[in-house]
C-alpha cells in the first residue's frame, strides 16, 4: 500500500522569516508553521509519500533519517487531523 499526502486545495500559505502562516479557506482557520513545516507544505503541492517527505527534510536539514522520519510523521498526523492535508491510497 502506498499512501500519498497532498496539501488540501483550500490551503493558502505565505512565508515570513522562513516560517509561515497557513490559511484554510474551508474552515477559515489559520495556523503558524515552522520553517520545516513550510518546506513540507510546499513539497505537498504535489502528492508525496512519507518517504519522499523524509527526503525533503534530510536534503535541507542536518538531521538523521530517523529524526526526519519522526518529524514528517508528526507533521502528517497533525496535518491530517487539522484538515490541512488530503490522503490518497495509491495501491
Amino acid at each position: 500500500m502506498t499512501v500519498r499526502y497532498a496539501r488540501h486545495p483550500d490551503l493558502r500559505l505565505t512565508a515570513l522569516d522562513s516560517e509561515g502562516i497557513v490559511l484554510h479557506l474551508g474552515t477559515r482557520r489559520y495556523y503558524s508553521v515552522s520553517e520545516s513545516g513550510l518546506d513540507l507544505l510546499q513539497a505537498l503541492a504535489q502528492p508525496r509519500t512519507h518517504q519522499e517527505l523524509v527526503a525533503v527534510l534530510t536534503a535541507k536539514y542536518d538531521v538523521s533519517a530517523e529524526q526526519a522520519s519522526a518529524a514528517a510523521r508528526d507533521f502528517l498526523e497533525h496535518g491530517r487531523r487539522s484538515g490541512m492535508l488530503t490522503v490518497e491510497d495509491a495501491t
Binding site: 483550500d10 493558502r12 500559505l13 505565505t14 512565508a15 515570513l16 522569516d17 516560517e19 509561515g20 502562516i21 490559511l23 484554510h24 479557506l25 477559515r28 489559520y30 503558524s32
Partner: protein, 307 residues
C-alpha cells in the same frame, strides 16, 4: 454631487443614483481600475437558494466560493442583496424601497461590505485598522478588532496634531515594492467611553446615536488618505501604563489574519490578500501596543515611546 465618482453608479432612479454617487465620492477612494455598482430598485427579493454556508458580519451575510464561485451579500436588516460574478468589476445591487428608508445602516453595513468585495478586484484588500502619520512623518497602522481602542487612539492622535486616516476601514495595496494603506474618508466614530476620555464636546451623531463622530480636522489634526506603514501596532486596552512591545513579524501576521477575516473568502483572491498582509508585516516594525490611561494625559506618549 460629484458627476464622476471613483466607483461608478448606474441606477434608473436619479435620486438614488445621486445619493450613492455622493456617498462614494465622500469616501475619497480612487481605485486604479474602474469599478461600478449596477443598482436596481425592486419590489421584493426572492428567497436565496444558495447552498453555501454564510459568513456573518454585522447585519450582513456573505456567501462566496464553490460551487457558484460568485459573491453574494445579503442585508439582514432589510431587503437588499448584491451579487458579484467571478472576476467582475461591477456589483449587481438589488434594493427595495423599504431598504432605502434606512440609508445610514444600508451604507454602513450592506453597501460597505459590497464595496469591500468590489475593491478586492482592484487589488485593494481590507484590514480592520486605523492609519496615521505622526509629527515626524512616520506612518503607523493600528490593526485590531472593534474593542481594541483603534478609534479612541485615532481621535486622540488627531488632537495631538497627527494626520489620521480611517479609524477602521482600511485597504492594503501593493505599490511598487511596498504596501500602501488607503483610508476610507469617514469621521472617527467614538463610543461614549472614548468620547468621555478625550473630554470632547459636540460631534455628529453616528451609528444611530450610539457614537459621536469627528473628522480629524475637527480635532486639530489633518487627514491622511494614504500611508506607507513603517510601524504596525496591535493595540489593546490593558494596564495602567501605555507601552510598546516588539513582536516577531510572524506573530504580527497571525494577528493581521485574525483581524482580516475576509481574507478567507473568495479563493481566487485569498492568496493575494494573504501575501499583502505578509508584506505589511515584513515592511513594518511590529509591536503590541498596550493602551493605558496615561495616554490621555498631557503628553504625546506614543511619540515618547517611539522617539
Amino acid at each position: 454631487m460629484t458627476a464622476s465618482p471613483p466607483v461608478g453608479v448606474a441606477c434608473r432612479d436619479a435620486e438614488v443614483a445621486s445619493w450613492l454617487a455622493d456617498w462614494l465620492s465622500g469616501m475619497r477612494l480612487e481605485p486604479p481600475v474602474p469599478l461600478a455598482l449596477d443598482v436596481h430598485i425592486v419590489e421584493n427579493l426572492p428567497a436565496d437558494d444558495d447552498p453555501r454556508e454564510p459568513f456573518l458580519q454585522p447585519l450582513v451575510e456573505i456567501r462566496s466560493g464553490a460551487p457558484l464561485d460568485d459573491v453574494r451579500i445579503r442585508w439582514r436588516a432589510g431587503e437588499a442583496r448584491a451579487t458579484i460574478a467571478p472576476g467582475a468589476r461591477t456589483a449587481l445591487v438589488e434594493l427595495t424601497r423599504d431598504a432605502l428608508r434606512d440609508r445610514d445602516r444600508l451604507t454602513q453595513t450592506f453597501l460597505t461590505a459590497t464595496l469591500v468585495f468590489l475593491l478586492r478586484r482592484a487589488g485593494w484588500h481590507h484590514v480592520h485598522a486605523a492609519v496615521a502619520r505622526d509629527p515626524r512623518g512616520r506612518d503607523w497602522l493600528f490593526a485590531g478588532d472593534a474593542e481594541s481602542g483603534k478609534s479612541t487612539t485615532a481621535a486622540l492622535l488627531a488632537t495631538r496634531g497627527w494626520a489620521v486616516g480611517s479609524d477602521d476601514l482600511t485597504f492594503l495595496a501593493q505599490n511598487g515594492n511596498g504596501v500602501t494603506a488607503l483610508a476610507q474618508r469617514s469621521p472617527i466614530a467614538l463610543r461614549p467611553g472614548g468620547y468621555a476620555l478625550l473630554g470632547l464636546a459636540g460631534g455628529a451623531a453616528a451609528r444611530g446615536g450610539r457614537k459621536s463622530a469627528f473628522f480629524p480636522e475637527e480635532l486639530g489634526g489633518s487627514w491622511a488618505g494614504q500611508v506607507t506603514p513603517q510601524i504596525l501596532a496591535l493595540p489593546r486596552v490593558e494596564g495602567s501604563l501605555t507601552r510598546l512591545e516588539p513582536v516577531r513579524p510572524r506573530e504580527a501576521l497571525a494577528e493581521l489574519v485574525r483581524w482580516s477575516a475576509w481574507v478567507a473568502l473568495e479563493p481566487a483572491l485569498a492568496q493575494e490578500h494573504l501575501d499583502l498582509l505578509a508584506a505589511l508585516a515584513r515592511q513594518a516594525r511590529c509591536y503590541r501596543l498596550f493602551l493605558g490611561p496615561d495616554l490621555f494625559g498631557g503628553r504625546d506618549v506614543l511619540m515618547e515611546l517611539m522617539p
